[in-house]
Structure formats: C-alpha cells, structure tokens
C-alpha cells in the first residue's frame, strides 16, 4: 500500500512555512482517463473479476439513473438526484467493504445501494413519496438516506463507537458530500471519531458543486487537509477511477478495522447532472467545465481498460442487455408501488402506546366515516 498517497497527521513543524496554507495533495490515480494504467496503477494489485464486477455495477447504476430521470420527467417521481459521473466513487468504495460493514449513506448513493443488494424499486420508492425508508437496512447493512446534510455522520460515528464497545471488528463507512462538510455536524463527527478512535471511514464524494455553489465558495482549506487537522488519517483519490478508489478504500478500511482509528477519503469527482431534477446546471456553470469532466468519465475509462485487457464484446453486450431489462422492470415496478395510507401511520411514530396518536387516529377514522356516510 506504499503507492497510496496517504496524508499523514502533520508533524509539528516550527518553520514559518508550515503556517502557510498548504495545497491539496495529488489524487491517487491508477487508471488514466484513456483507460491506461498509470505508474501508480502498474504497482497496484489488479483483480480481473473485480474489474468486470465494478464495470457492471457502474453501468447498471447509470441505467437506473437514466430511467429514474425519465420517470421523474413523466411525473412518476417527485424528485430524483442523479449519481451521473460519481459511479466509480460509489462502486469502488462500497466494493472495498465486507458485507457486514455498516454504511450510512447521504441521499445520492443509489449506485452503492444497488451493490448492497437494494432493488431499483426500493431505491425509487422514497422519491415517489410512498415511504421515507424503502429498504431493509438491517439485512443490507445500508442505512436509509439522510436528507439533512451531514446529520448521518454523527449517527455513523455513534454506531462505530458501539461496534468498538461490542468488540466487533466491522467498520462503518459514511458518505458525505463536499457541501455537507460545511455543516457543524460533519466537523463534530470528525472530531468525535478522532477522540474515540472510532472504526469509521468518512467517504467524501467531492463532486465540486453543492447545488449551485461551487466549492471555492464552500471552503478554502482542502478537505483531506482539514481531516488531518482533526487527527484523522486522510487520503485523496481520483473519484472517477474505480480501481484507485477501491484500493484506497481498502487501505482505509483495513486501517480502521485494525484499530488505527478513523479515516477520511476525499474522492475528486464531478456531478455531471444538476443537484436534482429541480435545477438546471446551465444557470450556474459553464458547459466547458462539464466537457472537461465528460472526458474523465468513469465508465468509459474502465471500459477502455477492460477492452484493452482482452474482455470481449460478449461481456459488454451481456451487461447492456441486463441494463435494458433493468430499465424496463424498474418502470413497471415503480408504477406498481403501493401507496401509503394515513391511517396506518399513527401507530408508527412511537414504540409504546401514545394517547394523542390513539385519539387522533380515532378522530381521523370518525372523519372518514362521515365522508362515507355522505356518499
């Protein structure tokens, strides 16, 4: 793992130089945008089966994204937040975990969720407005989404402390975006994890934009540098390079699992679409910028690598066919999602009996009965 660029906790330098703002480190990169192994990449362990798995994961994630966008445009989803461009960050990181490691996502981790066995329909259900939590988080070890930015990083930290108390060697990985790093909760979580030596990895998908706010208006000290200030081991990786993300995350997870304490990973990536289906990115950023990142596309990059390594057309056609099936079945299943009934919700707020819930439930039923009587 010596090839990885880890940013160690700063040594106490006493020179004036040490007080100057420090530039970001260069992201670890194994695959160049044209699909060739970089010098660092040539020293990295490469598992061919993992590479094809990750390609399939990313490809299917993108097909889900596209179909969900279509469904939203047709009025079938209230909102959708695309992962477009961030597939390598999500797949590379989640594939570096054990199945028993617990994940606290933010709200854009659909591609990672698919890897954890969530069905596309489960991922859509929240955005169709039928549930708040659409899947079995215990079985998948993938918690439901948190829409209050950064709030989940504290839950993740508390959970990780619990794992440590229990003497279990699972780790927690929590996803967070560059915008959320401005929240107090994220900074509290980094600090809390550090003082508790919590077995947690903070995976920051730095996609450069927080809705319409570019990250130069969000923060000035590089995020991976900030993490070292909190006393975390920290990495920066090319977030559009699944191979590098996977290897860096594996190193981070292994550090946390072996009692080394919390780790921060900044994945340098780009949100190719708007923040959600409710904003048009052309209002706040230049097409030229998007074009630069289009040339660094994570899926194209891995496809070029795989083809050059001898993976044939059959494999790609197979994955494409699987994507067609997914898109078709997602549409059908989405339209069939069962809608919630308000009368069912009164019993789900408290674990124990609650007179206000009982009273208001009864009142609602009484009101409904007057409607029936009127008909």
């Amino acid at each position: 793992m010596t090839a990885l660029r880890s940013v160690p906790v700063a040594s106490p330098e006493r020179s004036v130089q040490a007080l100057l703002p420090r530039a970001a480190a260069i992201p670890t990169q194994y695959l160049s945008p044209d699909g060739n192994l970089t010098e660092q990449g040539r020293g990295a362990p490469i598992d061919d089966a993992l590479m094809t798995t990750m390609f399939r994961d990313m490809y299917l994630g993108r097909r889900l994204d596209q179909q969900a966008l279509n469904l939203q445009r047709q009025g079938e989803l209230g909102l959708w937040l695309m992962s477009l461009g961030q597939e390598a960050s999500q797949v590379g990181s989640i594939r570096a975990l054990r199945d028993t490691d617990y994940v606290f996502p933010s709200y854009r981790e659909h591609v990672a969720g698919l890897c954890r066995g969530l069905t596309p329909t489960q991922l859509l259900s929240q955005w169709r407005g039928v549930v708040h939590a659409g899947w079995d988080w215990e079985a998948t070890r993938f918690h439901f989404y948190s829409l209050v930015l950064g709030s989940q990083t504290l839950h993740a930290t508390g959970y990780a402390i619990g794992l440590k108390h229990d003497g279990v060697d699972d780790v927690v990985l929590t996803y967070v975006g560059d915008g959320a790093t401005s929240q107090g909760d994220v900074n509290e979580a980094l600090n809390w994890a550090a003082v508790n030596d919590a077995p947690i990895v903070f995976f920051c998908q730095n996609n450069n934009w927080a809705i319409s706010t570019p990250n130069r208006a969000q923060y000035r000290g590089a995020l991976h540098r900030r993490a070292t200030g909190f006393g975390l081991r920290s990495y920066i990786v090319d977030g559009n390079d699944a191979l590098a993300v996977h290897d860096v995350t594996q190193a981070a997870v292994s550090h946390a699992r072996n009692g080394g304490g919390p780790v921060f990973i900044e994945a340098d990536t780009y949100r190719m679409a708007g923040h959600s289906t409710s904003d048009d990115p052309r209002r706040y950023r230049e097409d030229a910028e998007t074009e630069v990142w289009k040339a660094r596309d994570p899926i194209t990059r891995l496809e070029l690598y795989l083809r050059a390594s001898g993976v044939d057309d059959d494999y790609f056609s197979e994955v494409r066919a699987e994507g067609d099936d997914l898109a078709e079945s997602v549409r059908k299943a989405c339209l069939q999602l069962e809608e919630p009934v308000l009368t069912d919700l009164f019993s789900k707020v408290y674990a124990e009996q609650h007179p206000v819930m009982d009273l208001q439930h009864a009142e609602h039923l009484r009101f409904l009965s007057t409607l029936e009587a009127a008909q």
Binding site: H143, F144, T153, H155, G158, I161, L345, V356
Partner: protein, 323 residues
C-alpha cells in the same frame, strides 16, 4: 422510604438504571470525574467506567447525534445537556433525527434515548442558564417530554424514562435539586400520569416541574383565606394526562395553569385548549394562564419579577374565582 435531595435521587435513579441494564450509557460534558456541573452523575464513572459514563467533546449536536448511532447499535444512551440554553446546537438532532427516526423507519427502529436538561430559573444564574424550553420539544411528534417536581418522582421517572423505547426529553428543575423529600422504593405512577398533589374543591391549579412548589405554596396561602385549591402536577407535558386533567377541571369548574416558560404557546395554552374543548359545560370561568412574560430571560436580579411567583398565582386564582 428514604429521604434525599432531588439531585441525589436522580443520581441514585441513574445508578439503578445502569445496574439494571449494561446497555445503558451516560454521555455529556464534564459528567465523569467532575460528576456534572450539578453533580447528578457523581460517582457513576468510578462505578461503571469511562466507557459507560462518557465525558464528551463540547458539542450538543454531537452528543445527541452519536447517541442516536449508539441506540441504533442497541445501546440505551442517556444524554446530559449541561444547561437548558445549551440544547439548541443539538436541536436538529433532537427534532429532525431522534424524534422522527421511528416514523421514518416505518415504525421499525426504536430510539431509547433520554435527554436530561436542567431547566428553569431562580438560581441567580447568568444568561442562557435559566430557560424553560419544553414547549419546543412537546410540539414535535415522536418525542415524550416529562418533568419531575419531587425527589420521589426524580428517582422513579428517570428510571422509567430509561426503560422507554421512545426518546424522552427529561426536564429537571434545577432550583429544586437541593430540596429534600421522601423517596419510596417503588413508583406509584407511570411516566405519563399526572398527580393530584393537593385535593381542593374551589379551583384547580395546574403546574409542572419547578412551578409545582409555587402552586402548593399559593394553595396554602389561599387556604388561609378559605379558598380550597386543588393542585395538579402534570409530570408529563407530552403526552398530557388529559384524563386526570379533565376530571380535575370538571370537579372544580375553574382552572388556572402556571409555568415558568413564556406564556405565548406554552404548555398552558394546550392545557387551556384541551380543558375548554372537553369540559366547556362544566367551566365556571375561562382557563387562566400564569407564565413568564414573553421576554428573553432577564438579568438575574430581575428574575423574581419575571418568573410566575406565588403572588401572581394568587392574583390569577382570585380572578378565576371572581369571574
């Protein structure tokens, strides 16, 4: 039956809860070696170790947020917020995360978290150390909100709160921490029942937390003038024990509610609305509220005039009776 102060009763209650279940952990600022600024957790770290009695970083959102994560992992965290006015940095984690987690999970996830908040004024404290902010939490679905008024309730209610599978915001009237009282070995009421602390036929005086003692004192003065005041300690402000409240209101036909929190949209407003809605025909007078004025908490030298004291309560009782 043992005599102890409310502070000691809370301490013993927490000790008993921790002995009963090793998943109970206590988190807060300066609660370990120091025993908390009010010494409520004194000796607990020595007995249960630093892993179960945790001195946290100084960040309320962090305390509540990590408690939520611990609860997801099967722990039963009890958080200490050092003072009422310091709870706001943790507000999102309480009202958006802790309170809603069960509903968001479709009724699957339990959140057995207790948030202890020393509350109220009357101790000559500096600003932000004397607030009564229970209404913010009582307004949020998913939370239970209670307040103890006696050592006996302190001892039993804190244990009942820890046993609850729902989040409980537990308000401790800090100016009563040093008051002594008898503590029975077994609880006589559940966490959410109100208690009639004084029988009376002429008017019902409703209070909770630090105001219960004020209400009792006012009732004693009124008795010397021949007025028979019934005093009700709500104990739980969410949910309200409306069964007891309505029965008491019907029995006297006159209700005065007193609390330290600001009057506008305080718990008194809910008491008044509930009594009016359900006991309208039995009422002889409108429900009157005696709360703090709707001012930010004043410098402490002015707090005696700001807080609803015995004289303002007596004034309200008189207005109710002469209506």
């Amino acid at each position: 039956m043992t005599q102890m102060t409310m502070g000691k009763a809370l301490n013993e209650g927490l000790r008993a809860a921790m002995q009963a279940d090793d998943k109970v952990v206590v988190l807060g600022e300066d609660i370990g070696a120091l025993g908390g600024v009010f010494r409520i957790t004194e000796g607990l770290q020595d007995q249960f170790g630093p892993q179960r009695v945790v001195d946290t970083p100084l960040a309320e959102s962090g305390i509540v947020g990590t408690a939520i994560g611990l609860a997801m992992r099967g722990y039963r965290p009890v958080c200490e917020i050092q003072f009422d006015g310091f709870v706001y940095p943790g507000f999102d984690q309480i009202v958006s995360q802790l309170a809603k987690m069960r509903a968001r999970s479709g009724g699957r996830l339990a959140m057995p978290v207790v948030i202890r908040i020393p509350c109220g004024g009357g101790i000559g404290a500096v600003e932000h150390h004397s607030e009564s902010n229970e209404a913010y939490f009582a307004h949020t679905a998913g939370l239970r909100v209670v307040s103890c008024a006696t050592p006996e309730d302190a001892f039993h209610m804190i244990q009942q709160a820890v046993l609850s599978d729902d989040p409980v915001v537990f308000f401790e009237p800090k100016r009563r921490y040093w008051d002594k009282g008898d503590v029975a070995d077994t609880p006589s009421l559940d966490l959410h029942s109100a208690r009639v602390v004084r029988a009376g036929a002429d008017v019902t005086l409703v209070a909770h937390g630090p105001s219960v003692k004020v209400a009792e004192q006012a009732a004693s003065f009124a008795a010397s003038d021949g007025v028979d005041v019934q005093v009700v300690d709500l104990r739980s402000v969410s949910p309200l024990d409306t069964t007891t409240l309505h029965a008491c209101a019907r029995s006297t036909g006159r209700v005065v509610v007193v609390h330290e929190a600001s009057t506008f949209l305080g718990i008194g407003a809910e008491v008044a609305a509930s009594v009016t809605e359900h006991c309208f025909r039995d009422l002889q007078a409108p429900v009157l509220r005696v709360g703090a004025y709707d001012l930010p908490y004043p410098p402490s030298k002015a707090e005696d005039d700001f807080l609803p004291g015995v004289d303002r309560v007596l004034d309200a009782l008189e207005r109710s009776l002469s209506y």
